[in-house]
């Protein structure tokens, strides 16, 4: 039996805007309001607003919580001054990815974590099962409405919608006079911020940002925008059987930390070299849109694996995709073929991102 869908505190606003709502990660969420392509281009050229209320928020505090988080997460929270955040990963004992998340240091001994919607329960259970006595861990996911305002006009929209408030610097964290949380982060490659407020205040905030010029955008555009940047999506491009080294996320792993869960596997992969690598792949010519699970072949037809994500990029108008490939086939320029319903389309390994924000 399918468990009942969860509902965003912004759902009434989506319905009023005529959104198409679909199940995503157990939530009834807008996939589009007008058209995925229109919304995609709105974010690249102006600004869009996404409902991200489905994402999870955890609060962590306690005198020793930084050291505790450093044992659970790959990046190093000691590098964060209060008011700053970092992308990081939570691994299982084998070094596989449980989740990717952003951790913000909201105070000297307080942290704010934003995790993937589909992983809220699993992440929380994992953290709670490793909890030290003096650590306070709270799942506040139900309490917050969340929205991401993204695009070159995002800071102008913030100034208009939140007069008297200051947008934090890139990756920064701030709170407003009305106790909302503002993070200068996103999932599109554009400038922008994520705004979290008490669920009951969500629709008013949403309407204010739209009145200030943000175009409502659904999960469809969110996916095309993130893939153009080569940002991984957990469940597609990240999995419990792949490490961040294999996923090309070594930058967000601090192997100099004395210990964190999964470190041994990562050290081994670092010294011996990973067997596979998550590669950015782009068609060299026009072709049918690449999609997750399509087979990837070498130039000579040898099967190499399957795509983890793929789309026809609206910005560069080419097929773009990602796949774990044997390291020997992961070098830039390696010729590949993508099998779409039996037709082979030529492609090559390219550098991330596929699209460079202007």
């Amino acid at each position: 039996m399918t468990p009942e869908l969860k509902h965003s505190p912004l759902e009434a606003a989506h319905q009023a805007l005529g959104a198409r709502l679909v199940p995503f990660a157990g939530w009834n969420m807008p996939v589009q309001y007008t058209s995925i392509l229109t919304e995609h281009h709105a974010v690249r050229s102006q600004a869009g607003i996404f409902d991200i209320s489905h994402m999870g928020q955890f609060l962590v505090s306690g005198p020793a919580c930084a050291a505790w988080l450093n044992r659970l997460l790959t990046n190093n929270v000691d590098k964060l001054a209060p008011g700053h955040g970092q992308y990081t990963l939570m691994l299982n004992e084998q070094g596989g990815v449980i989740d990717d998340l952003i951790v913000y240091r909201s105070g000297e001994t307080d942290f704010f974590l934003v995790v993937n919607a589909s992983m809220i329960e699993e992440d929380f259970f994992w953290m709670a099962s490793h909890q030290d006595a003096d650590i306070i861990l709270r799942n506040e996911s139900e309490l917050w409405a969340g929205m991401a305002i993204q695009g070159p006009q995002a800071s102008a929209i913030f100034a208009a919608a939140c007069p008297g408030e200051t947008l934090p610097p890139r990756n920064g964290y701030a709170t407003t006079a009305a106790a909302a949380i503002v993070c200068r982060t996103g999932y599109t490659g554009e400038d922008g911020f994520e705004f979290f407020c008490p669920a009951a205040a969500g629709i008013a905030a949403w309407d204010t940002f739209i009145a200030a010029g943000a175009a409502p955008c659904g999960l469809g555009a969110r996916d095309t925008l993130r893939l153009e940047m080569g940002y991984p999506l957990n469940g597609n491009d990240l999995s419990p059987t792949r490490s961040p080294i294999e996923a090309g996320l070594g930058f967000f792993v601090d192997l100099t930390k004395p210990d964190f869960i999964g470190r041994d596997t990562l050290l081994l992969q670092k010294s011996e070299g990973a067997a596979v690598k998550l590669c950015a792949i782009q068609y060299t010519d026009k072709g049918a849109p690449p999609r997750a699970h399509y087979p990837v072949l070498a130039a000579d037809g040898t099967a190499l694996g399957e795509l983890t994500s793929g789309v026809l990029s609206p910005s560069i108008n080419a097929g773009i995709a990602m796949a774990y490939l044997p390291t020997a086939f992961s070098k830039l320029g390696t010729p590949l073929q993508i099998d779409v319903r039996g037709r082979l389309f030529p492609a090559t390994v390219v550098k991330k991102p596929f699209y460079k924000a202007k």
């Binding site: 996939v31 058209s35 995925i36 392509l37 849109p289 026809l312 319903r341």
Partner: protein, 125 residues
């Protein structure tokens, strides 16, 4: 929703315009709206023989690839190069420049089994 009275429709949302034994096939306004932005179409090779309900073309939106079925049996005699170059024609002009392929219909009586505009309107409303 636009459902022209002079066409026949399948329950899988293709339309058929019959002119003698030549049938032109596309997808309905309802279908293009449900599929959203069409970004790619894969058309059958001319000369291919198909039966009614055979998957004959593929229309792809940003999110998904959808099979398009032959509403009647016959031989593919022409495909629309304009939709290959500009797939959005399927969205903007589904009954006109967004047509997909033409068949030499084997048995025009098969078209009688398709829905008329009133029955198709009832199906989608």
């Amino acid at each position: 929703m636009n459902v022209p009275a002079d066409l026949r429709y399948s329950s899988s949302h293709e339309w058929l315009r019959l002119d003698g034994d030549i049938g032109t096939v596309g997808i309905s306004d309802h279908a293009q709206e449900a599929l959203t932005d069409v970004v790619f179409v894969e058309l059958p090779a001319p000369g291919r023989k198909v039966d009614a309900a055979d998957p004959t073309a593929v229309v792809e939106s940003v999110k998904a690839a959808s099979d398009i079925y032959a509403p009647v049996g016959g031989e593919v005699i022409e495909i629309n190069p304009a939709v290959e170059a500009d797939p959005a024609l399927v969205n903007t002009d589904p009954y006109g420049n967004g047509w997909l392929f033409k068949l030499r219909v084997k048995n025009p009586a098969e078209a009688l089994a398709l829905l008329d505009a009133a029955a198709y309107t009832a199906l989608i409303s």
